[in-house]
Subunit: 364 residues, 2 copies
């Protein structure tokens, strides 16, 4: 980790090590901390900053407040030969996914399709990080997750949905998978908060006031309700995701998760449903890989259209850029972490921000 | 069927009988004709006019041109214990669905989840008609279908996707199911054609010209490409649907279906994927119906929000209105059918449009 000219640069390994140290000092088990830290480093690697180190303070707050069980051990069990339930036991999502990934992949290969339900879990990660390991082994996968109520349905005014993201992954041969991952809200809540902090207005269509009227004032929008993307269609998707990751799997609705949350700024409790498909089992061609080969015709059409871009391409370009080098951390984030850190981490962070300190390597 | 003051009114039974007679005279087997006619009558019942009798001329044209096999017998077979393939044998979708519905429901109940792939099928129906029978027996279901290339990806200019609809159904106790069914194009192609016919402009965001520039001219938009709804998110969904209903199941891409189509104005060839879930198998509550009960909390929240409406509510209201009474048929449509009809149907249609004829019942 390097500090120079007021900027902090770090290797991905440094980021992972820093995150582990912070999390363990805040009460996480080594297993929970390592899984979260790996996830954070993967997001930094892909310039997915909103789910990188930026999330670490929230993770720490939820451990310090006692909301999340730091040493939770996820428990996996079979509901049917193709449906597996993972009880995250009050811990974070990344370890839950690590524990379940191989099991669900095996069932999907055997039957052609399998589902994973995750409950009692605190989720702060990007969904693409959860689907990529499955797609990397040749599987197709969907993920659906609810959150805490912030978003009104189309035409409505009451926050009912979380930002309710969904993701979909399709494997490609010799290339990183096609993965999209989007919130069904028009915009991330953080984006509205950012406009508020900067004294800027928000575009119409992001949020409504408490009476359901359009607003360009971020404060009024935050007090009212965010809107879904794509009008009634996005609203229908948000409803579907709410049903699949709440009632279907025996978890809370986003409105119930909001009431249950202690407001510590960490991840809310939320359910998640994964459906995993083996693309060699949905047809009976002589060549099992026919589906994957055929899909390349589509990807070629999409990529040859000027001005367009495949979902995920920007992340993979960032990955190629960042994997060998250093990524930048905001000094403000370092300050925030210092406020939450245990003594060992604090001592290390103090060294980074030493005023007037020139270039130089700092542990870990 | 009644003609009065230039308007034609018909009972749902009359519509079904008329459609069967037209289809059989155009070469359909009784089984194919009955399944299509039932579907058309169900759409008229729900004021889903775009998929009602309005579609009958297209069905007839595709039989008369020889594109569709009028006496096709769908063949069902197992790919895995939870994946079933239905070869529609070059026939229409409604019979295919009738044949497969019970089998797929049984597998979903046994394992908790099952999938149906449909290939070699000509599809002109609304997806909600296919999911409602499953939801009526307590099952949750998704449907995904591609079409013929009309729609460009976000930021692009080349038609790649069909209007690629998806649908989702969730059962409710003692109430009709929650079902949404939407195209991933911003708007139906017919809506742009209607504006063109009326000499009206189209809003920005519906279509682009051949260079990918926004247009308000319907003719330029039709020659260029339609756009997906919801920007890059809708575009991502359209890609997913293209993959699931084409390469995954061994069917054509929308671009391939466009090339293969004879342009007769009837349904294009297209693949379809259904995924069916038994909501009593995704959790282990003491009460198997816990998921359905819990979902009602969400529906109550959504329905109590002023100004908002549940997907499907408008259709169910129309159903209540129309089931006992008569629905109206456009005289223009009667004329169009006359041009395509066989001698027996023609004789009957001639009677309806008899100029100066007063009110009175007409066969069938």
């Amino acid at each position: 980790m390097y500090a120079m000219d007021g900027k902090v640069s770090a290797s991905l390994g440094d980021i992972e090590a820093l995150a582990i140290q912070c999390l363990v000092e805040a009460g996480a088990s080594q297993a929970q901390a390592t899984a979260v830290a790996r996830n954070i480093a993967a997001c930094e690697r892909d310039d997915c900053k909103s789910h990188g180190l930026f999330r670490l303070p929230g993770y720490l707050k939820s451990l310090l407040s006692g909301k999340v069980t730091g040493d939770a051990r996820p428990v996996i069990r079979e509901l049917t030969p193709i449906i597996v339930h993972l009880d995250a036991a009050g811990g974070f999502a990344p370890l839950a996914h690590e524990v379940a990934c191989e099991d669900i992949a095996k069932r999907a290969r055997r039957f052609g399709m399998a589902a994973l339900t995750i409950t009692n879990c605190y989720h702060f990660t990007a969904l693409w990080t959860e689907l990529e390991p499955l797609a990397a082994t040749g599987l197709v996968a969907f993920a659906f997750r609810n959150g805490i109520s912030r978003v009104a349905q189309h035409g409505g005014r009451t926050p009912v949905f979380g930002t309710n993201p969904m993701a979909f992954a399709w494997p490609r041969r010799g290339k990183p998978p096609f993965i999209f991952d989007f919130a069904t809200s028009e915009i991330a809540r953080g984006e509205i908060q950012l406009r508020q902090r900067n004294g800027e207005s928000i575009p119409l269509g992001w949020a409504v006031d408490k009476e359901g009227q359009p607003t360009t004032d971020p404060a009024i929008g935050l007090a009212g309700a965010q809107l879904t993307f794509g009008g009634h269609k996005g609203s229908a998707l948000a409803t579907m995701i709410e049903l699949l990751s709440g009632p279907l799997i025996g978890e809370m609705l986003s409105s119930e998760a909001l009431r249950a949350d202690n407001g510590d700024g960490g991840p809310p409790r939320g359910g998640e449903l994964l459906i995993v498909l083996d693309p060699t089992r949905f047809h009976d061609h002589a060549k099992p890989e026919a589906a994957i080969d055929h899909a390349e015709v589509l990807f070629e059409q999409l990529q040859s259209d000027p001005g367009a871009r495949l979902a995920g391409d920007r992340r993979y370009a960032a990955r190629a850029r960042n994997s060998a080098g250093l990524v930048t951390i905001s000094p403000k984030l370092i300050e925030e972490l210092r406020g939450l850190a245990g003594p060992r981490t604090k001592a290390m962070l103090d060294m980074i921000a030493l005023p007037g300190r020139g270039a130089g390597q700092i542990a870990p």
